[in-house]
Amino acid sequence: MTMFINYEHNNHVYGVTAERRDNRFFITYDNNEYTVTATETKPGQLAMQVGDRTIKCVISEGEDSKFVFIDGDIFQVKRIELTGRKKSEVKSGTLNSPISGTVVSVKVKEGVAVKKDEVIMVIEAMKMEYLIRAPFDGVIKKIYFTEKDQIEIGKLTAEMDAREG
């Protein structure tokens, strides 16, 4: 089974896919595939082999982020869900902000019906606009932000129910 994971570090998002077969992992990032052999030697301590390189690292889980230790450098990373939806909850979608920024406009109201790809919210960050679109046909259940609100990366912008049938 393939996992799609998004990591946020210093306001940048990195999307990877990972598939595991025993202690081998097939990871893609930015159109490259990496085959990694890895074991967790102690809780959070990984010994990995990528080609002829050996990578040792330690990962710890904080309250809402992970810390990765590699060769003395530490990276604080959040795992975020962008426009993903849980497989087991196909009837209800969630929409997360891809960036930290300001809400410049909210295009819909709670209770209204929207079509797939209809714009729900516009977020501005670093002079660029990001559009939050409906991932499927449905009804807006809840909107969490109004204009001029500050929003953080990964935060849920709105909730939708998929249209029945």
């Binding site: 990591y7 940048h12 990877v16 959070g44 990995m48 990276f75 962008l82 660029m128």
Partner: protein, 498 residues
């Protein structure tokens, strides 16, 4: 020797002092504020006393409270560590007034050395060079500009009560002098409530080199050689070493004698440090005296084999120094790094949080001084220094290699730290050559950021492996195919060719 000592401090220095006492079979009393209740120094001590409110003024800076507790538990002496009350003459006096031995010099010496102008005057009287300057009480603009012109340019305007660079100006030309004095005074007034300034010749390529001294109550004073502390970020030392890369046998003897003379001139007792500024031509000038144990005392211990804290205790209890200047030897090279909970990518702001994992490097001649452990809560109340890492070896090059190895194995997760920054500084070609001044960080690391290229590929692979191992099948989130408006179009920024 004392039977019971109260340690009026927290963190790594409290731990270090408690261990020294316990080895000497002295019973120890820790003090702690509410947030430090479960700290290593409390767990280690034989007894402990709750100071309550974590605000420093209500806890570690509260003289009355600490003296009261010391009396209650029957402590014969108080070790103040560094920081907090270590250089507070009122505290030293309050100890004396309560019949408790303050482990340090007399209140009079602390007070004298706390006044930077008076300190320089006294030390200059002992024929120790001080930087040419004006330290007078007359603070009118006319006097100051006249005195400034006498000193010449470039010169430094500095707040008398100052510290941390506040109320400080470098003046390069005569025309800028009056204006610089006025703005320094304004800043000093608002920062310290005191607008008094002094003027000094500005030193080019300055190094901060200090000498450790020990003085007993019988009048013997020795020095334990130098420490090079030029690597500073905003006047905060971060890497110290000994011997100094520029030190010669002759300069060491001259400066060592000056340090001893300075300590003798003020009737110093216990451990202290004479800070000098050394210019590019090996001229040296007395800067100030720290009337306490230094953070970086560990590098002196590594190269001399002397336990400074044990000698502090012996001297305070009246024992004479049995170490003789001629027998002391500086051997090999030692290096210290200070590990701070701070974010080098974010203006070095303190970083607070829970230490999810602490796993420190060990090996021959690797010394860890730490007051934290796994699950420790780093609070915003106190100094963000978490630990000190000291290494020593036969040569400077080997110590740098050892330090780099140790930093690369220094696992402390849950807050951001300055470890990546320290590694970059140590690996800098000019550092390796020993070409350092107090401007080193400003010169080479002004706008330094952790890995400007972002999260490295290896970290990403590790995260993906970790999450593959730890995500339960039913929790796996499927990523919906990106549409043209997806933020993915903006954020793919991996650089190839790792």
């Amino acid at each position: 020797m004392f039977k019971k000592v109260l340690v009026a401090n927290r963190g790594e220095i409290a731990v270090r002092i408690i261990k020294a006492c316990q080895e000497m079979e002295i019973r120890t009393v820790a003090v702690y504020s509410e947030v430090d209740r479960d700290s290593p120094h409390v767990q280690l001590a034989d007894e402990s006393v709750n100071l309550g409110d974590p605000t420093p003024s209500e806890s570690y800076l509260n003289i009355a409270k600490i003296i009261e507790h010391a009396k209650t538990v029957g402590a014969e002496a108080i070790h103040p560590g560094y920081g907090f009350l270590a250089e507070n003459p009122d505290f030293a006096k309050a100890c004396a007034d309560s019949g408790i031995v303050f482990i340090g010099p007399t209140p009079q010496v602390i007070r004298l050395m706390g006044d930077k102008i008076e300190a320089k005057k006294t030390i200059a009287g002992a024929s120790v060079p001080v930087i040419p300057g004006y330290h007078g009480v007359k603070q009118d603009l006319d006097t100051l500009t006249r005195e400034g012109k006498k000193i010449g340019f470039p010169l430094l305007v500095k707040a008398t009560a100052g510290g941390g660079g506040k109320g400080m100006r470098v003046v390069h030309k005569e025309e800028e002098l009056a204006q610089s004095i006025e703005s320094a005074k304004r800043e000093a007034k608002s920062a310290f409530g005191n607008d008094s300034v002094f003027l000094e010749q500005y030193i080019d390529k300055p190094r901060h080199i200090e000498f450790q001294v020990l003085a007993d109550q019988q009048g013997q004073v020795i020095h334990l050689f130098e420490r090079e502390c030029s690597i500073q970020r905003r006047h905060q030392k971060i890497i110290e070493e000994t011997p100094s890369p520029v030190m010669t046998k002759k300069l060491r003897e001259t400066m060592g004698s000056a340090a001893v003379a300075a300590a003798q001139a003020v009737g110093y007792t216990n451990a202290g440090t004479i800070e000098f500024m050394v210019d590019g031509k090996q001229n040296f000038y007395f800067m100030e005296m720290n009337t306490r144990l230094q953070v970086e005392h560990s590098i002196t211990e590594a190269t001399t084999g002397v336990d400074l804290v044990k000698w502090q205790l012996r001297i305070a209890s009246g024992e004479p120094l049995t170490l003789k200047q001629k027998q002391l030897l500086q051997r090999g090279h030692a290096l210290e790094c200070r590990i701070y909970a701070e974010d080098p990518s974010n203006g070095f702001l303190p970083s607070v949080g829970t230490l999810e994992k602490v796993d420190l490097p060990s090996g021959p001649n690797i010394r860890n001084d730490t007051g934290v452990e796994t699950n420790f809560q780093v609070s915003p109340y106190y100094d963000p220094m978490l630990a000190k890492l000291t290494v020593s070896s036969e040569t400077r090059a080997e110590s740098i290699q050892k330090m780099l190895w140790a930093l690369s194995h220094y696992v402390i997760l849950g807050v951001t730290t300055n470890i990546s920054f320290l590694k970059k500084v140590l690996a800098h070609p000019e550092f390796l050559k020993g070409n350092i001044t107090t401007h080193f960080i400003d010169d080479y690391f002004k706008d330094w950021m952790v890995r400007k290229q972002g999260l490295p590929l290896d970290a990403l692979l590790a995260l993906a492996v970790y999450d593959s191992l730890h995500t339960k099948r039913q929790q796996i989130v499927r990523y919906k195919e990106a549409d043209p408006h997806s933020p993915w179009q903006h954020v793919g920024r991996w650089r190839m060719g790792v």
